[in-house]
Amino acid sequence: MAKTAMPEEKVEPSYLEVSTNKYKKGILSWILSVDHKRIGIMYLFSMMAFFTVAVFFGFLIRLELIAPGRTIIDAQTYNQLFTLHGIIMIFLFIIPGLPAVFGNFFLPIMIGAKDVIFPRLNLMSWYMFVFGGLFAVASMLLPGGSADTGWMFYVPYSVRTNTNVLPALIAAFILGFSSILTGLNFITTIHRMRHPDMSWFKMPLFVWSLYATAWIQVLATPIIGITLALVGIERVLGVGIFDPALGGDPVLYQHLFWIYSHPAVYIMILPAMGVVSEIIPVFSRRSIFGYKFIAFSSLAIAFFGSLVWAHHMFTAGMSDTAQFVFSFITYVVSIPSAIKVFNWLSTMYKGSIKLDPPFLYVMSFIVQFSIGGFTGLMLGALSLNIHLQDTSFVVAHFHYVMFGGTGFGIFAAMHYWLPKMFGRMYNLKVATWAWGIVTVGYNALYMPMFIMGYLGMPRRYYDYLPQFQPYHVASTIGSWILIIGLIIMFTNLWIGMRKGPKTSMNPWGGETLEWKIQTPPILENFREVPDIHAGPYDYSKYETKKETTK
């Protein structure tokens, strides 16, 4: 496949060749560009740089834990590493991951628009992203040592430690602002820039998930902004807000932190769910099952996801009533997530499935996300939570959702869309092998954490009892396999993007708008107004009998 280039009538220079500003070529034609596609690519590369750093930190953490006691680094460095790993992975990789890269690139195309509604604001969010990233790097490199608070910055420790907490706080604040501006841009774009024939229920599901995500970004992120600002003010000026010595309530900090950070989990997972909803119909040659259910479940997840934050704090000393209420709603939020999984599986039923790399990553996503979801329910149960809170069971759970879910969603999106973005195809065989290695390594890395966490291995501990060592060894070996897989995968993608065979307009046979335009897309996406008559996943030509699903 991919070598059968469609006979296109004429090929215009793509966005990779045409600059939007006076600089025709070079770095300035990129970093001053307001083209949504170029900004998406800029996000992609800056994000991957941070990802590499954070993976390396994760590797070091795992290596340290291969044996009890000191192995390669001292305890303070260990604390700083897991803090940086968390901050970089969360604020610089997973949160911007799908919306800022693939959302920026494909959202306008998918709704039949030339660009986002505020292109200059879009560029500004990228600058804020980079600027925030620089502060994160500064907290690493400045004298005093990088922050050692964990990515949650819990008070009172974050107010009292002498490490560089302030740059890290500023980094998170700026990155939050960047995320808000992206969200604001997307909501307005979806409301205002849709093609006149693109009604709400003709929008691809990725766009729906971005819409739900954007609302969380706009409405929840300011809370973390002000909370982190308060911690910063408390550190610098000694204003009494959260410090118990001045009458403050550290549990209130935890409330405010999780009011954002729990919905943030849905900022991370919802776009990945959108990607899955895009890929499954294409590789099953089937219309999506239950389009409206998937679309509305995104909104439902966004809404209910904002009501469950305190399940992170069951052992922090809340009132019994609060524990009961938040535990209950935690169970409710699993319903829309399950709806999505059922609909994806139903879409595949009787489809003609093609096991290309994007689809394989989606399969891993569904399995791993389900494991992450189920263990999430275990943690949401009050009684079990007391037992499992702050053990490596929790670490395994959120890595299953965040990495096994969103991370694999990002990999799936890369394999699905990068050929469109660069017009070249990677090596499919190597990609399939890389998928196998990554999936095996990933599960070997995190599955042992469930077991040892259940047996009582606390999270974030530098040292541990000898009885946990077999699990730690298994986990560390898993991390090596995973990293080998990641290296193969990214090398393959990189070589593919640079030198791979030129690909056609529609290598996978997708039906959404991005597959109906030139590869790589031209500057303002559409040469002529696209014809939008059917829904986004019209595979009726492949289906033998008439379907009742929309």
């Binding site: 709400w200 809340m318 209420v325 938040f326």
Partner: protein
């Protein structure tokens, strides 16, 4: 569902603004006066109620929400409901025995 791409500007006369402004000043006067009287726990409720009324006028007239499309109204309700949930659910914790 889709919003029309229309652009009609609604001109509000100066007189209306002055009228609203006088009303707002009157409410400010009331809230200052009432705060001097001790209603116990109701004092804060009354103060917040008056503040809400004032905001309602500012939103609708000064900020032209009254003349905006339905979408804008839906947006603002979403934002306010979100905030009330954040505030209210926090009190699930604080207003019960910990």
């Amino acid at each position: 569902m889709s919003e029309h791409r229309h652009e009609e500007s609604h001109v509000i006369e100066y007189g209306n603004y002055i009228f609203i402004w006088l009303g707002l000043l009157a409410f400010t006067g009331i809230t200052v006066t009432v705060s001097g009287i001790d209603f116990g726990n109701w004092t804060i409720v009354i103060a917040l109620f008056i503040a809400c009324v004032k905001s309602w006028y500012v939103l609708n007239y000064f900020m032209h929400m009254k003349y905006e499309d339905k979408v804008f109204k839906l947006f603002i309700v979403t934002a306010l409901v979100t905030f009330i949930i954040f505030l209210g659910f926090t009190f699930w914790d604080y207003s019960f025995v910990r």
